[in-house]
Protein backbone atom coordinates (compact mmCIF):
# COMPACT_ATOMS: atom_id res chain seq x y z
CA UNK A 1 0.00 0.00 0.00
CA UNK A 2 1.40 3.38 -0.96
CA UNK A 3 1.46 6.34 1.37
CA UNK A 4 -1.98 7.95 1.72
CA UNK A 5 -2.35 11.74 1.57
CA UNK A 6 -1.16 13.43 4.69
CA UNK A 7 1.84 15.19 6.10
CA UNK A 8 5.08 14.56 7.89
CA UNK A 9 5.57 16.34 11.20
CA UNK A 10 9.07 16.89 12.52
CA UNK A 11 9.37 18.05 16.11
CA UNK A 12 12.30 20.30 16.82
CA UNK A 13 12.38 20.74 13.06
CA UNK A 14 13.74 24.27 12.94
CA UNK A 15 17.43 23.64 13.53
CA UNK A 16 20.17 21.06 13.72
CA UNK A 17 19.24 17.48 12.88
CA UNK A 18 15.51 18.27 12.86
CA UNK A 19 15.93 20.97 10.24
CA UNK A 20 17.95 18.63 8.04
CA UNK A 21 15.24 15.96 8.39
CA UNK A 22 12.48 18.42 7.48
CA UNK A 23 14.40 19.58 4.44
CA UNK A 24 15.15 16.06 3.32
CA UNK A 25 11.56 14.84 3.64
CA UNK A 26 10.39 17.91 1.75
CA UNK A 27 12.92 17.16 -1.00
CA UNK A 28 11.53 13.61 -1.09
CA UNK A 29 8.13 15.06 -1.96
CA UNK A 30 6.37 14.93 1.40
CA UNK A 31 4.28 17.76 2.80
CA UNK A 32 6.28 18.69 5.88
CA UNK A 33 5.26 20.62 8.97
CA UNK A 34 7.68 21.54 11.74
CA UNK A 35 6.79 21.85 15.38
CA UNK A 36 9.02 23.82 17.71
CA UNK A 37 8.89 26.11 20.71
CA UNK A 38 9.61 29.01 18.39
CA UNK A 39 9.88 29.47 14.65
CA UNK A 40 8.18 26.26 13.50
CA UNK A 41 5.07 25.95 11.34
CA UNK A 42 3.27 25.29 14.60
CA UNK A 43 4.48 26.22 18.05
CA UNK A 44 4.43 24.02 21.09
CA UNK A 45 6.66 22.76 23.85
CA UNK A 46 6.43 18.96 23.44
CA UNK A 47 6.59 18.65 27.24
CA UNK A 48 3.19 20.36 27.39
CA UNK A 49 0.54 17.80 26.40
CA UNK A 50 -2.17 20.43 26.01
CA UNK A 51 -0.03 22.52 23.69
CA UNK A 52 0.85 19.40 21.68
CA UNK A 53 -2.84 18.53 21.22
CA UNK A 54 -3.56 22.07 20.00
CA UNK A 55 -0.56 22.00 17.68
CA UNK A 56 -1.64 18.69 16.14
CA UNK A 57 -5.13 20.09 15.57
CA UNK A 58 -3.57 23.03 13.75
CA UNK A 59 -1.31 20.77 11.68
CA UNK A 60 -4.27 18.61 10.63
CA UNK A 61 -6.17 21.72 9.61
CA UNK A 62 -3.33 23.25 7.60
CA UNK A 63 -1.36 20.25 6.35
CA UNK A 64 -3.62 17.20 6.64
CA UNK A 65 -3.42 14.11 8.86
CA UNK A 66 -0.05 13.31 10.37
CA UNK A 67 1.05 10.05 8.78
CA UNK A 68 4.78 10.48 9.27
CA UNK A 69 6.05 11.62 12.65
CA UNK A 70 9.67 12.28 13.52
CA UNK A 71 10.15 12.75 17.25
CA UNK A 72 13.31 14.78 17.25
CA UNK A 73 12.75 17.55 19.80
CA UNK A 74 15.32 17.31 22.55
CA UNK A 75 17.13 19.31 25.17
CA UNK A 76 20.16 18.78 27.39
CA UNK A 77 20.77 19.80 31.01
CA UNK A 78 24.16 18.24 31.69
CA UNK A 79 25.73 17.58 35.07
CA UNK A 80 26.88 14.69 37.21
CA UNK A 81 23.95 12.74 38.64
CA UNK A 82 25.07 13.38 42.19
CA UNK A 83 24.69 17.12 41.68
CA UNK A 84 21.86 17.11 39.19
CA UNK A 85 18.85 19.19 40.24
CA UNK A 86 15.60 17.24 40.04
CA UNK A 87 14.27 19.94 37.73
CA UNK A 88 17.04 19.25 35.22
CA UNK A 89 16.25 15.55 35.32
CA UNK A 90 12.57 16.21 34.80
CA UNK A 91 13.03 18.77 32.04
CA UNK A 92 15.06 16.34 29.94
CA UNK A 93 12.75 13.37 30.57
CA UNK A 94 9.64 15.49 29.95
CA UNK A 95 10.89 16.78 26.64
CA UNK A 96 12.96 13.94 25.21
CA UNK A 97 10.87 10.97 26.33
CA UNK A 98 7.42 12.08 27.45
CA UNK A 99 7.31 14.55 24.57
CA UNK A 100 7.79 11.70 22.12
CA UNK A 101 5.05 9.72 23.87
CA UNK A 102 2.63 12.63 23.72
CA UNK A 103 3.29 13.37 20.06
CA UNK A 104 3.11 9.68 19.15
CA UNK A 105 -0.30 9.34 20.77
CA UNK A 106 -1.55 12.21 18.66
CA UNK A 107 0.02 10.94 15.47
CA UNK A 108 -1.30 7.41 15.98
CA UNK A 109 -4.87 8.71 15.88
CA UNK A 110 -4.33 9.75 12.26
CA UNK A 111 -2.18 6.76 11.31
CA UNK A 112 -4.66 4.25 12.70
CA UNK A 113 -7.45 5.75 10.60
CA UNK A 114 -5.23 5.65 7.51
CA UNK A 115 -3.94 2.15 8.25
CA UNK A 116 -0.53 3.56 7.38
CA UNK A 117 2.10 5.39 9.38
CA UNK A 118 5.76 5.96 9.99
CA UNK A 119 7.21 7.02 13.31
CA UNK A 120 10.90 7.65 13.72
CA UNK A 121 12.32 8.50 17.12
CA UNK A 122 15.61 10.32 17.21
CA UNK A 123 17.54 8.71 20.05
CA UNK A 124 21.31 8.89 20.50
CA UNK A 125 24.43 6.77 20.46
CA UNK A 126 24.60 7.29 24.23
CA UNK A 127 21.31 5.38 24.68
CA UNK A 128 23.04 2.02 24.51
CA UNK A 129 26.18 3.06 26.34
CA UNK A 130 26.88 5.62 29.05
CA UNK A 131 27.87 9.23 29.05
CA UNK A 132 29.04 10.71 32.34
CA UNK A 133 27.39 14.06 32.91
CA UNK A 134 24.25 13.10 30.97
CA UNK A 135 22.35 10.73 33.24
CA UNK A 136 19.08 12.44 32.38
CA UNK A 137 19.73 12.52 28.64
CA UNK A 138 20.98 8.92 28.49
CA UNK A 139 18.00 7.71 30.52
CA UNK A 140 15.58 9.53 28.23
CA UNK A 141 17.24 8.33 25.03
CA UNK A 142 17.48 4.74 26.30
CA UNK A 143 13.83 4.91 27.32
CA UNK A 144 13.01 6.07 23.83
CA UNK A 145 14.45 2.87 22.36
CA UNK A 146 12.27 0.66 24.57
CA UNK A 147 9.29 2.83 23.76
CA UNK A 148 10.06 2.54 20.05
CA UNK A 149 10.14 -1.24 20.11
CA UNK A 150 6.90 -1.45 22.08
CA UNK A 151 4.93 0.86 19.81
CA UNK A 152 6.31 -1.12 16.86
CA UNK A 153 4.80 -4.33 18.25
CA UNK A 154 1.53 -2.69 19.26
CA UNK A 155 0.90 -1.11 15.86
CA UNK A 156 2.65 -3.47 13.48
CA UNK A 157 -0.47 -5.13 12.18
CA UNK A 158 -1.99 -1.80 11.17
CA UNK A 159 0.67 -0.85 8.64
CA UNK A 160 2.37 1.49 11.08
CA UNK A 161 6.09 1.22 11.77
CA UNK A 162 8.04 2.75 14.62
CA UNK A 163 11.82 2.85 14.45
CA UNK A 164 14.67 4.76 16.01
CA UNK A 165 17.91 6.27 14.83
CA UNK A 166 20.87 6.75 17.12
CA UNK A 167 22.99 9.61 15.85
CA UNK A 168 26.55 9.84 17.07
CA UNK A 169 28.33 13.15 17.39
CA UNK A 170 26.72 15.34 14.77
CA UNK A 171 27.83 18.88 14.01
CA UNK A 172 25.07 21.00 15.52
CA UNK A 173 24.70 23.78 18.06
CA UNK A 174 23.92 21.17 20.70
CA UNK A 175 27.27 19.44 20.31
CA UNK A 176 29.39 22.54 19.72
CA UNK A 177 30.95 22.34 23.19
CA UNK A 178 31.74 18.64 23.30
CA UNK A 179 32.50 17.79 19.71
CA UNK A 180 36.29 18.13 19.75
CA UNK A 181 36.79 15.82 22.71
CA UNK A 182 34.75 13.07 21.12
CA UNK A 183 36.00 13.35 17.58
CA UNK A 184 39.07 11.24 18.27
CA UNK A 185 36.89 8.36 19.44
CA UNK A 186 34.88 8.16 16.22
CA UNK A 187 36.15 5.44 13.86
CA UNK A 188 35.09 7.52 10.88
CA UNK A 189 37.58 10.15 12.04
CA UNK A 190 35.12 12.97 11.70
CA UNK A 191 31.86 14.27 13.06
CA UNK A 192 28.60 13.41 11.36
CA UNK A 193 26.51 15.81 9.34
CA UNK A 194 22.81 16.45 10.04
CA UNK A 195 22.02 15.41 6.45
CA UNK A 196 23.50 11.99 7.13
CA UNK A 197 21.01 11.45 9.94
CA UNK A 198 18.24 12.82 7.72
CA UNK A 199 19.11 10.24 5.08
CA UNK A 200 18.57 7.39 7.56
CA UNK A 201 15.31 8.92 8.79
CA UNK A 202 14.06 9.35 5.21
CA UNK A 203 14.79 5.68 4.55
CA UNK A 204 12.72 4.62 7.58
CA UNK A 205 9.87 6.92 6.50
CA UNK A 206 9.74 5.43 3.02
CA UNK A 207 7.19 2.99 1.67
CA UNK A 208 9.90 0.45 0.98
CA UNK A 209 10.85 0.33 4.65
CA UNK A 210 7.46 -1.20 5.50
CA UNK A 211 9.10 -4.36 6.86
CA UNK A 212 11.60 -2.50 9.03
CA UNK A 213 9.87 -2.17 12.38
CA UNK A 214 11.14 -1.73 15.92
CA UNK A 215 14.67 -1.28 14.64
CA UNK A 216 17.43 0.97 15.91
CA UNK A 217 19.56 2.34 13.11
CA UNK A 218 22.91 3.75 14.20
CA UNK A 219 24.21 6.79 12.33
CA UNK A 220 27.38 7.37 14.27
CA UNK A 221 30.42 6.70 12.12
CA UNK A 222 30.98 3.50 14.08
CA UNK A 223 31.21 5.19 17.47
CA UNK A 224 28.73 2.85 19.14
CA UNK A 225 29.89 -0.33 17.44
Amino acid sequence: MSRPDGCALVTGGTRGIGLAIAERLRADGLTVATLARSGGDVRADVADAGAVAAAFAEVRERFGPVLVLVNNAGVTRDGLAIRMPLDDWRTVLDTNLTGAFTCTKQGLEDMLKARWGRIVNVSSVVAERANPGQANYVAAKAGLLGYTRTVAKEMGKRGITCNAVTPGVIETEMTAGVADDLKAAVPAGRLGRPEEVAHAVAFLCGEQAAYVNGATLAVDGGLGA
Binding site: L112, E154, M155, K157, R158
Partner: protein, 82 residues
Protein backbone atom coordinates in the same frame (compact mmCIF):
# COMPACT_ATOMS: atom_id res chain seq x y z
CA UNK B 1 -32.64 2.64 24.83
CA UNK B 2 -35.05 0.91 22.49
CA UNK B 3 -34.60 -2.40 20.74
CA UNK B 4 -34.06 -0.46 17.53
CA UNK B 5 -31.16 1.38 19.15
CA UNK B 6 -29.67 -1.87 20.40
CA UNK B 7 -29.88 -3.29 16.90
CA UNK B 8 -28.18 -0.16 15.63
CA UNK B 9 -25.32 -0.52 18.14
CA UNK B 10 -24.98 -4.19 17.26
CA UNK B 11 -24.70 -3.36 13.57
CA UNK B 12 -22.19 -0.60 14.29
CA UNK B 13 -20.07 -3.09 16.21
CA UNK B 14 -20.30 -5.61 13.37
CA UNK B 15 -19.38 -2.99 10.78
CA UNK B 16 -16.46 -1.61 12.77
CA UNK B 17 -15.05 -5.07 13.48
CA UNK B 18 -15.46 -5.92 9.80
CA UNK B 19 -13.62 -2.71 8.90
CA UNK B 20 -10.66 -3.82 10.99
CA UNK B 21 -10.88 -7.20 9.27
CA UNK B 22 -12.03 -9.35 12.17
CA UNK B 23 -13.21 -12.68 10.68
CA UNK B 24 -16.86 -13.46 11.41
CA UNK B 25 -17.65 -9.85 12.39
CA UNK B 26 -20.97 -9.67 10.52
CA UNK B 27 -22.25 -12.84 12.20
CA UNK B 28 -21.59 -11.52 15.71
CA UNK B 29 -24.48 -11.59 18.19
CA UNK B 30 -24.74 -10.04 21.68
CA UNK B 31 -23.56 -13.39 23.06
CA UNK B 32 -20.37 -13.36 21.01
CA UNK B 33 -17.29 -12.70 23.11
CA UNK B 34 -14.09 -10.96 22.04
CA UNK B 35 -12.34 -14.27 22.61
CA UNK B 36 -14.71 -15.94 20.10
CA UNK B 37 -13.77 -13.31 17.52
CA UNK B 38 -10.09 -13.22 18.44
CA UNK B 39 -10.45 -9.48 19.08
CA UNK B 40 -7.29 -8.10 20.68
CA UNK B 41 -6.72 -4.96 22.75
CA UNK B 42 -5.93 -2.77 19.75
CA UNK B 43 -9.08 -3.94 17.95
CA UNK B 44 -11.04 -3.05 21.06
CA UNK B 45 -9.53 0.42 21.24
CA UNK B 46 -10.57 1.07 17.66
CA UNK B 47 -14.05 -0.30 18.28
CA UNK B 48 -14.50 1.89 21.34
CA UNK B 49 -13.36 4.98 19.42
CA UNK B 50 -15.95 4.26 16.75
CA UNK B 51 -18.69 3.83 19.36
CA UNK B 52 -17.64 7.05 21.11
CA UNK B 53 -17.77 8.98 17.85
CA UNK B 54 -21.07 7.58 16.65
CA UNK B 55 -22.99 7.73 19.92
CA UNK B 56 -21.26 10.79 21.40
CA UNK B 57 -20.29 9.05 24.61
CA UNK B 58 -17.03 8.81 26.52
CA UNK B 59 -15.93 5.33 27.52
CA UNK B 60 -13.41 5.35 30.36
CA UNK B 61 -10.45 2.99 30.33
CA UNK B 62 -11.83 1.29 33.43
CA UNK B 63 -15.07 0.49 31.60
CA UNK B 64 -13.19 -0.70 28.55
CA UNK B 65 -11.45 -3.40 30.59
CA UNK B 66 -14.76 -4.79 31.86
CA UNK B 67 -16.43 -5.45 28.53
CA UNK B 68 -15.85 -8.95 27.26
CA UNK B 69 -18.61 -9.45 24.73
CA UNK B 70 -20.66 -7.69 22.09
CA UNK B 71 -23.58 -7.63 24.54
CA UNK B 72 -21.40 -5.95 27.19
CA UNK B 73 -20.48 -3.22 24.71
CA UNK B 74 -24.12 -2.67 23.74
CA UNK B 75 -25.13 -2.46 27.42
CA UNK B 76 -22.31 0.00 28.13
CA UNK B 77 -23.31 2.32 25.30
CA UNK B 78 -26.91 2.01 26.49
CA UNK B 79 -26.00 3.00 30.05
CA UNK B 80 -23.90 5.94 28.93
CA UNK B 81 -26.62 7.32 26.69
CA UNK B 82 -29.43 7.10 29.24
Amino acid sequence: MSTTDQTDVLQTIRDELAAIKVPGAQEATPETTWADLDVDSLDLVELVKALEDRYEVQIADGELKKIESVGDAIALVESLRS
